[in-house]
Amino acid sequence: MRLEVRKTYKLLIGGAAVRSESGRVVPVNGPTGTHLANVPLGSRKDARDAVRAARGALPGWSGRTAYNRGQVLYRIAEVLEARSLELAGVIAHSTGTSIADATVEVAQAVESAVHYAGWTDKLHAVLGGVNPVAAPFFSFSTPEPVGVVALLAADLPSLVGLVDPLCAALAGGNTVLALVSAAHPLAGLDLGEVLTTSDVPAGVVNLIAGDHAEVAPHVASHGDVDALIDASNDALATELERRCATNITRYRRPGAPCSLEAVERTLELKTAWHPVGS
């Protein structure tokens, strides 16, 4: 007889798989009550560390060529595809959905990564442009990443609900700290292993599992977070929006899956006026 070696689930902060700074761990059970794994319960300090890592990684990631960001996103799709059996199993076990449905969800996640990989070098052409102005100026607008994006993932779907808005934010050049699904954190944390093997630079994506009601308000109030994409439960929305208004953090609901709109929610337009001869 062989004793099963179980995985210790960890957070992803600054490119490293780490335990929660708080030392807290919670058991995660399947729908029938069987114990699946122990998962670190992220704290406010973990979120602060993640903000710091994301801020540090921003110049490098936003400074890469759009083409290169597309390559990295495509690589995420490749690694997701290669691990689709494993991820489908994790989704099915932890949420109680059928293997067939879970397999479809992983396929959708791969689809999202490929979709946004294609958008990276087309954003300027589609969203930016030259503006007609009645003065001797050359005026043009270009889309820029807002910066550090905090993402609150929905409870369900536990994988694609994270991957879609995440890849949308990455496509525009943002760095992200994501609170993975609070009810079903396993697939979201497994995504960390996909990201660290997909050429995503350390700190560009940080994944935290935890109680959204405990951590999210703190994230919304953090002065170094530029946008909050909130797909979490509605009970928190008003409070988060109020906190975001206080320090001028952009508060948005996520866009539709595989849409340009989802990318736009983490972009802002920079408009420059350049004098030209009469």
Binding site: R48, V51, R55, H218, S221, H222, G223, D224, N247
Partner: protein, 295 residues
Amino acid sequence: MRLEDVTVDAVGVEARVSSLARRSIKAETKDAWLRLALSMVDLTTLEGKDSDGKVARLCAKALHPDPADPTLPTVAAVCVYPPFVALAKRLLARSAVRVASVATAFPSGQAPLATRLAEVTAAVADGADEIDMVIDRGAFLAGRSTKVASEIEQVKVACGAAHLKVILETGELETYDNVRRASLLAMRHGADFIKTSTGKVSPASTPGTVLVMGEALRDYVEETGRMVGMKPAGGIRDAKAALATLVIVNETLGDAWLTPTWFRFGASSLANDLLMQIAKLRTGAYGSPDAFSAS
């Protein structure tokens, strides 16, 4: 005690430092200590690209570290290269902020003695309140401590009324034994302050060197009755490191040194982190480094 007989228990130093690093400072005490640390900062710019504009900006920051919070103290001093002393002195004239200048061919110290002394004289003539000199580490490591001692004495004379801070550059001294020896040597020959590092060599100030220098200082003051100050510089980049350093100082030297008169931080990025942490205690939310002016 003869200098060469001085030794330090390196393992004991590390153990003591790691036990002190576990102290936790919270709430009102943290706020008070952050403000104290801010008042001890020597706001520093020592770059080849320094300009009048940058020094002027630094002086403005020294007077009003965070314009949004009028309750803050000013910093202790600004620390610049000699050509900027006159400008800094003029901009800080009606304040208690002092002007410190590095001199003696900072950071290497590799220049003829006459040149180094002339540099000190010029900085003092321009109005420097404090002079930060470097010792000749090559001579010290070769055992020529008499040469180092004589140079410190001559610089002290050139300083006149200006305070003399002696930079040991502990990162180049290799051992704690040498750190303690150099500290004693500097104090015995006229240093008003002993300072860890130039900030140009890594490692700069570490908790271990702060403890060793602090103990040397305590023993010297106990023996002679002459007060000497201390200035860790370089390597203390955030509020957490600053508070940890103050814990070591408090436990080693005591209350008398917890004042900008006898203790300083040489730093360029520390001030902004202190301001951010003070604002965090006031507002309850973490801020963005973007909200504070460049150092």
